[in-house]
Amino acid sequence: MKTWIRRRSIAASAVAVAGVALAGSQALAQTATIAVGAPVTSLDPHYHQLSPNNAVADTIFDKLVNTDAQSRNVPGLATEWRAVEPTVWEFRLRPNVRFHNGNAFTAEDVAFTLQRLPNVPNSPSSFAVYSRPITRVEIVDPLTIRLHTAQPYPLMPLDMTNVRILDKETAENATTEDFNALRAAAGTGPYRAVAHRNGDRIEFERWDGYWGDRAPFQRVNYRMITNDAARTAALLAGDVDLIDQVPTSDLARLRSDNRVRISETVGLRLIFLGLDFQRAANENSPFITDNDGRPLGRNPLRDVRVRRALSMAIDRRAIVDRVMEGAAVPANQFLPQGVFGFVADLPAPAYDPDGAKRLLAEAGYPNGFRIQLNGPNDRYINDARIVQAIGQMWTRIGVRTAVEAQPWTTFVGRAGRQDYSAFLIGWGSNPDGSHPLRNIMATFNSERGWGASNRGRYSNPQVDDLLAQSLTELDEAKRERQVVDAMRIAMQDVGVVPLHIQTNIWASRRNFEHTARNDELTRAQDLRPAAR
C-alpha cells in the first residue's frame, strides 16, 4: 500500500517536473486520469444519443463541424461550408486526414456515415434525425460533398456538429459490439481507445497522426465513478486528476483547497417548471384543489396572472445562492447570453411575493389554493431540494404546496402522460434558440415532429408560426429575430416557469488545467498539464 502512494506521488511530481522543464513542448507528459459521473454505455458513436457517449465519441472521432468550448461552430473535418443553393449545402473536406488505422479520410466516409445513422440496430435513441432532412448526398470530388434537402434548411451545420464520421472500410458491416470491443472504433480524433471495460473505464492513447493540435498526454484513463461523494474523494485522494459534475455541496471546500483547480462555465441546461395546459380553464387539474381539499372546478394554471404570480413568488436568487451554492444563474429563458437566440430584454423575474399575492387575488384566488409540485430526485443537480424550496415559497403566498420527488424512471413516464399539475424538469439545449422552441414550446404535433418534450402541452399559434418561418430561413440575422420573437412571446406568456441555467463545473488537481465546456461534455483533449 505504501508503494502505491509513492508511485502516485512520483507520477504527479514527474508531471510537475515535465511541466517546468518542457513548458513549451509537453512531449513528456505522462498519464492523466479522468473520473466522470455518468456511465458511457457504448463506443458506437451512432448508437445512443447520450451526453456521456457523445463526450467519448468526440475524443475518438471528429465531425464535419466541430464546436468550441462555447459551442460555436468551428471547422472540423470540413474546412468550410455554405449553402450553394437554397436547398444544397456544400462542405469542403480537410485534406491529409488519417483514421487511427491509417486509412485516408474522404467524402466516401461522410456519405457512408450519413447512410448508417438511421440503420443502427436496436438503437434506443438514434441519430436518424440528423440525416432525415437530407434527400440526396452528392460526392463532387474526394474532398467536396453536397447535401441536398427538400426545403431550405438553415440548421444543417448545427446538425453536422452531432454526426461523428466513421471510416467506411472499418465500419461498413460493424455492429455496436464491434465498436465496444474496439474492432471498429477507428476515428480521426486526438486520442484512440485502446481498452474498454463496459460501464467501468476506457483507456485512451494519443493518436500521433492527428490533424490538429497534438494531444498533451500519452495515455488517458477515463473512469466512471457515479457516486458523487466517491468522485470527490477520489480527486482529493489523488487517484484521479479531473472530475466532472462536481457536487455543489463540495464546491465551497474544493474552491478553498489549494491542491484543486476549478473550471466552470454557464451551461446550456435550463431547470424549469412545467405547468398543466392540458386541462381546459373549466376542468380540474389532477393535483390542484381548493384550501379544503375539494375540487376547484377550474384549472387556475390556464390564467396567465396565476402563472405570473407563481413565477414571481419564486426567489431565484435564494435558490441559486442557498440550494445551488452559486452554481447556476437565474433565468427567464432557455439560453444564456451569447448564444444564438438569446433574448436580451428578458431578465430573470424579480422576487415579489406581495405582487404575486395581488395577482392571485385579481385572478380570483385571494386565499390561494392547494397544489402538488412533482419532480425527480436523481436527475438534475439538487432537483429534490429545489422542489422543496419552491414548495416553501409558494406556500408563503398562500398556494399551499405539497411536494413529491421520485426517481426519474417513475417520474418521467407520468410527466409524459400529463399526470401532473406542476413539475420540475430540465432541458439541455443545442446552442440555437430554435431547439428548445421546437421541442418544448411548440404545440405538440406528431406529423411535424414538434413539441415532443412539451409535457405541459403549452400551445400558442404565434410561437408556432414564427418557429415555422425560422426553420426555412437561410438569412441568419432574420432567422435570429424570428427565434428571439417567438421565445419572448412564449416566456411572457409563462408557457413554462424558468428557474435557472446550471453552471457546468469540473475540478482538477492543481497541476492540471481543464477547459470548461458549456455543452457539459467531458472530453480527454480538454485536459492538459498546467502551465508553470
Binding site: 440496430p121 465496444n180 424512471t409
Partner: protein, 335 residues
C-alpha cells in the same frame, strides 16, 4: 437422492419461470424504458422507431413469449442500453462481485468465528463484552455511511488505500465452453494493486457479516455448553480444547453454516450499496444502473442468475445440514 435432486431442479425451474414473469410485469408497471433512454430532443417519429426497435410495440404477453422462446435457446435478450447480450454483460461483471463477496465472507469467518467462540466460552470477561458491543455497532451502522467514512479516513485523510474502483486485474482462463468470457475471467485479488483496492469494499461489506457470525457463534456456544452431552464430556475428563472443538464446535456449526450460506447469496445480491459507494464495477452496480434506466433484459437475466445461485446455495446448505446433523433427513422432504 437422485429423485430428491431432480425434484429440487424442477422446483427451481418453476421458481425461475414465476420470477421472470413477475419481473416482466414489474418493469412494465414502473415505466417506459424508451421514455428514459431516448434523447430528449427526439421527435415523435424517432420515438416510435425506438419503441419498435426494442420490441416494445408488442403486447406484454407477446413480449414475454418472445423472451421465453429465446431464453429456451439460451438467449436472454440484448441490453437496451449496451446493445450487447445481457448474459455476457453480467458474466463480465461477475468476477468483480464474486471476489468481493468471497472476500467479505472470508473476512467474516476469519474474524467472526474466533471472536464469537471466545465470547461464548468466557461470556463475562471484559474482552467478550467489548466484542459483543463491537458486534452491535457492526450491524447498527448503515453500510453506505461506513463506506464513506472509510473513504474519508483511509483514502482522503491518511492516504493509505485507494479511494474507489477496482485495481489491476489478472486474467485466468474462463470456464470451458463459456463463450462470452473467452477473454478469460478478470480477477483483481491476484495483483497487489487489486488487493489494495479490494480492502475497503470487502471490509465494508463484511462488517455486517462479522457481527452476524460473532453473535451466532456466541449464542450457539453458550447453548451447547449447557447441553447434557457437553457436561458429560467434561465430566468424562476430556480436555477443554477437545470439548470445545469437537463437541461444541460441531453443534454450533449448523446455524452458522445456514446463515453464512444464506448470506453468501445475499452478499452477492445486495452488494449494490457497497459497489455504488466504492464505484466497484460488479453485478450489483450493473443491476442498480439497469433499474435506473429500466434495462429489462439485464434485470431479468440478472435475477434469473441470482435465483439459480440461491437455489444452488440452498441445496448445498440443506445437504450440509443432513451431513452435520443426522437427525435431519432429506427424505423427510419428499413424499
Amino acid at each position: 437422492m437422485a429423485v430428491y435432486l431432480v425434484r429440487r431442479l424442477m422446483q427451481a425451474l418453476l421458481v425461475v419461470l414465476a420470477m421472470s414473469m413477475i419481473v416482466f410485469v414489474g418493469v412494465y408497471a414502473i415505466g417506459d424504458p424508451v421514455e428514459i433512454l431516448i434523447s430528449p430532443d427526439a421527435d415523435q417519429l424517432e420515438r416510435e422507431r425506438a419503441i419498435r426497435a426494442l420490441g416494445l410495440d408488442l403486447p406484454l404477453w407477446q413480449q414475454y413469449l418472445v423472451f421465453l422462446t429465446n431464453a429456451l435457446q439460451g438467449d436472454l435478450g440484448r441490453s437496451f442500453v449496451f446493445n450487447e447480450p445481457a448474459l455476457k454483460l453480467i458474466l463480465q461483471r461477475m468476477p468483480a462481485t464474486l471476489e468481493l463477496a468471497f472476500g467479505a465472507m472470508f473476512l467474516s469467518i476469519l474474524i467472526g468465528l474466533p471472536l464469537g467462540l471466545y465470547a461464548g466460552l468466557r461470556p463475562n470477561s471484559p474482552a467478550s463484552k467489548t466484542i459483543m458491543a463491537g458486534s452491535i455497532l457492526g450491524f447498527s451502522l448503515p453500510t453506505f455511511w461506513v463506506g464513506l467514512m472509510l473513504i474519508m479516513v483511509f483514502a482522503v485523510q491518511l492516504g493509505w488505500l485507494p479511494s474507489t474502483g477496482r485495481g489491476e486485474t489478472c486474467s485466468v482462463l474462463g470456464f470451458i465452453g463459456l463463450q462470452p468470457c473467452n477473454a478469460g475471467l478478470q480477477w483483481s485479488w491476484l495483483t497487489g494493486d487489486g488487493l489494495a483496492h479490494m480492502v475497503m469494499p470487502a471490509v465494508n461489506l463484511a462488517l455486517f457479516k462479522i457481527s452476524l457470525v460473532i453473535r451466532l457463534t456466541r449464542a450457539g456456544v453458550r447453548e451447547t455448553m449447557l447441553m447434557d452431552y457437553v457436561k458429560f464430556a467434561r465430566a468424562k475428563g476430556l480436555s477443554a480444547s477437545r470439548v470445545t472443538f469437537v463437541h461444541v464446535f460441531k453443534n454450533i456449526l449448523i446455524p452458522v453454516v445456514t446463515v453464512v450460506g444464506l448470506e453468501l447469496g445475499s452478499t452477492i445480491a445486495f452488494s449494490v450499496v457497497t459497489e455504488s459507494v466504492f464505484a466497484w464495477p460488479g453485478m450489483g452496480k450493473l443491476i442498480i444502473d439497469s433499474i435506473n434506466v429500466l434495462d429489462r433484459p439485464v434485470i431479468v437475466a440478472y435475477l434469473m442468475i441470482i435465483v439459480l445461485m440461491f437455489i444452488t446455495i440452498n441445496l448445498v446448505v440443506d445437504l450440509t445440514y443432513s451431513l452435520l446433523d443426522p437427525r435431519v433427513r432429506l427424505e423427510s422432504k419428499g413424499t
